[in-house]
């Protein structure tokens, strides 16, 4: 026997429910695509090898100094922040380097790929809103990225526990979790930028080049560009006050770059001893007591970084969304 509710559900095609479900269908397909795609397998392989190398080096370095060191707390988190031969960078730098690439990889062909395959008109002629296409793809990309980054952190933790014999404290685990979310938002920024580029560029190759170019410029020439902007806004005349003002301006300007934001945020979140990301004068640190911040205090320090990064990501996503809504379907 069927109840009245079931009969109604059968007779009336529920437009609301399928409206809600549209982006889910898109996301579901995209996630399956990503997980089965060659680029995912290659990325996971590269990630695994690079991470393993970095974490072995770091844990080796920590083991070498650990017997002599006194009072090092948050030892476990050092796995992510310590540089040791032969790997030239700590893990957080590696992730900072990798995150934009991940975002670009999962965003650059979001729309341009549909266009070049000739599937866009067919997709848009289905009874779904256009925004569901963008939203579904964005959610799918971030889901896969979250899986990858979480796996990476767990992998590092596993190796660290084995090699160091140190089990992370609850505080360290919460720091890692917050940092993971922060890193995912950072990837989200690049994915949104790549998605915007995929709407604007007619070909997938062009659409990959735009965000890659922006990333390279910000990474390689960032400090030069920020310095140049700051010297216009706050000219130096040789005096200490002007110099300080200039450095302050550099600091402020550079915080518009997601690359800087992520670096600063990461260093504070993963290192309880870092108390500021801003300028510190000698007078300020003189006779300061070395102590650790708790997570809430660290969060208070990087709150601006987190807020700006979230805002930049949201703006980028909105731009991609608007561009796609205004996009002509014509091939």
């Amino acid at each position: 026997m069927t109840t009245d509710a079931e009969v109604v559900a059968e007779e009336v095609p529920a437009p609301e429910s399928s409206r809600v479900g549209g982006w889910r269908a898109v996301a579901r397909k995209e996630i399956a695509d990503h997980l089965l795609s060659g680029r995912f397998v290659v990325l996971m392989g590269v990630l695994g090898i690079a991470t393993a190398a970095a974490v072995f080096a770091a844990s080796g370095g920590i083991r070498d100094v650990a017997p002599n060191a006194q009072g090092i707390t948050a030892l476990f988190l050092k796995l992510f922040t310590v540089t040791a031969e032969p790997v030239p960078f700590p893990l957080i730098v590696f992730v900072g380097f990798l995150a934009p690439l991940l975002g670009i990889m999962f965003g650059f062909d979001a729309v341009s790929g549909e266009r070049s395959q000739g599937t866009l008109p067919r997709l848009l002629s289905q009874p779904i809103h256009r925004d569901e296409v963008i939203l579904g793809k964005f959610v799918a990309g971030l889901t896969v990225v979250s899986i990858m980054l979480t796996a990476l952190v767990l992998f590092v933790s596993g190796i660290g526990i084995l090699r160091l014999g140190v089990v992370p404290t609850p505080t360290e685990i919460s720091r890692l979790a917050v940092w993971l979310v922060f890193a995912i938002i950072y990837v989200g920024f690049w994915q949104a930028l790549a998605t915007l580029s995929s709407v604007l560029a007619k070909r997938a190759s062009t659409s990959a080049m735009i965000p890659l170019g922006i990333w390279l410029v910000l990474t390689l020439f960032g400090s030069f560009i920020f310095g140049a902007i700051a010297s216009v806004l706050s000219p130096r005349d040789g005096s200490d006050a002007a110099e300080l003002a200039y450095l302050q301006t550099v600091q402020n300007v550079s915080q518009l770059s997601p690359v800087t934001l992520f670096q600063q945020g990461s260093s504070v979140l993963l290192d309880p001893e870092v108390r500021t990301v801003g300028l510190v004068t000698v007078e300020q640190v003189d006779r300061a007591i070395v102590s650790e911040l708790n997570l809430t205090q660290s969060l208070a320090v990087v709150w601006p970084q987190i807020a700006i990064l979230v805002a930049l990501t949201a703006v980028m996503f909105a731009a991609a969304y608007i561009a796609f809504m205004r996009d002509e379907v014509r091939a």
């Binding site: 399928s18 479900g21 898109v26 395959q117 000739g118 067919r122 379907v329």
Partner: protein
């Protein structure tokens, strides 16, 4: 009878360029309507406006009583669309591609439906091959199945026969006809290949540079030329020069020229003047052996409208 697709003064301009110019369409339920015209005539733009994917500059559209501008989702729920040069997700099989479409349409129980659609378009065997391995014709057929997943009451096919082999064309056209006749689906068919599609269309509109230059059944269009005249071949007995003179003396006849056989003459007649002309001939004592109305195929008409367009272009 209520039109399923209706447009009034539908216009789309891009800057200075008018792509669709005050188009009036009336397509009845259950008919196969051919929108025929060369590439760049504005066919695809018209279709995308009907689907609510392009905003019209001016004019009114109604699809199944809905305005695609305000109700695109409802329209797209009921209209199946096969785009020009349809594409599929290459790594996914034909079946998986159809599943995705089914989910986008909010369907839950679709396996049987997909199976029957694959059989319908003759891809029952190939359903589990990756779509990337499909030939152009197979993709085109999968595209028809894809457009049918939602159980549409209108099917819009953009260049369904382009780039497929002649045998495939025949199959495609049979399929279209079957859908219209058996399932009662209204079909709007856009094509530049007239001779291929004219056979299956109940009515056609000839669409050149954003304007409909002629509209009607293929038969009506074929029989009337641009001045509204019909071409008729008369076979007359007796002295050929006398019979020609008889013919030319009638006011309804113009442009008399020799026909294929001796004693036969081809002439232009004003539309509707066939009977008076024949009785005029008889009253002049001519020996009327046969009267044959010459139908042109659409190709000829089509070319003629092109020529007009080109002449107009030249005089501008």
């Amino acid at each position: 009878m209520a039109s399923t697709i209706r447009s009034r003064k539908l216009t789309k301009t891009y800057g200075e360029h008018t792509v669709v110019d005050r188009l009036d369409l009336d397509i009845d339920a259950g008919e196969v309507f051919g929108l025929l015209g060369p590439n760049g005539a504005g066919k695809t733009t018209t279709i995308l406006m009907l689907l609510g994917l392009i905003e019209p500059t001016k004019g009114k559209i109604e699809v199944l009583g809905l305005d695609p501008r305000w109700n695109p989702i409802e329209v797209k729920r009921k209209v199946g669309y096969l785009p020009d040069a349809v594409g599929f997700y290459d790594p996914m099989t034909g079946r998986e591609n159809l599943r995705f479409t089914a989910r986008l349409n909010g369907l839950d129980d679709y396996e049987d439906l997909i199976e029957s659609l694959l059989d319908l378009v003759g891809l029952g065997e190939a359903g589990d091959q990756p779509a990337g391995e499909y030939s152009r014709g197979m993709k085109q057929r999968l595209g028809v199945a894809d457009a049918l997943v939602k159980g549409p009451s209108i099917l819009i096919l953009d260049e369904p026969t382009t780039a497929i082999d002649p045998e495939g064309v025949v199959e495609m056209l049979n399929l279209i006809q079957r859908l219209a006749k058996e399932e009662g689906v209204t079909v709007l068919l856009a094509s530049h290949l007239l001779h291929q599609v004219q056979a299956v269309c109940d009515r056609v509109a000839i669409f050149v540079r954003g304007k409909v230059v002629a509209q009607g059944t293929p038969h009506e269009l074929a029989a009337v030329d641009k001045e509204g005249n019909i071409r008729v071949e008369f076979r007359l007995g007796g002295d050929p020069s006398k019979s020609r003179a008889d013919l030319e003396s009638l006011g309804t006849v113009s442009d008399v020229s020799p026909g294929r056989a001796p004693g036969s003459w081809v002439a232009n007649l004003e539309s509707g003047s066939l009977a008076p002309t024949v009785s005029g001939l008889v009253s002049k004592g001519a020996d009327v052996i046969g009267v044959h109305r010459l139908d042109e195929d659409l190709e000829t008409i089509y070319r003629r409208y092109f020529e007009i367009e080109e002449e107009e272009e030249a005089t501008v």
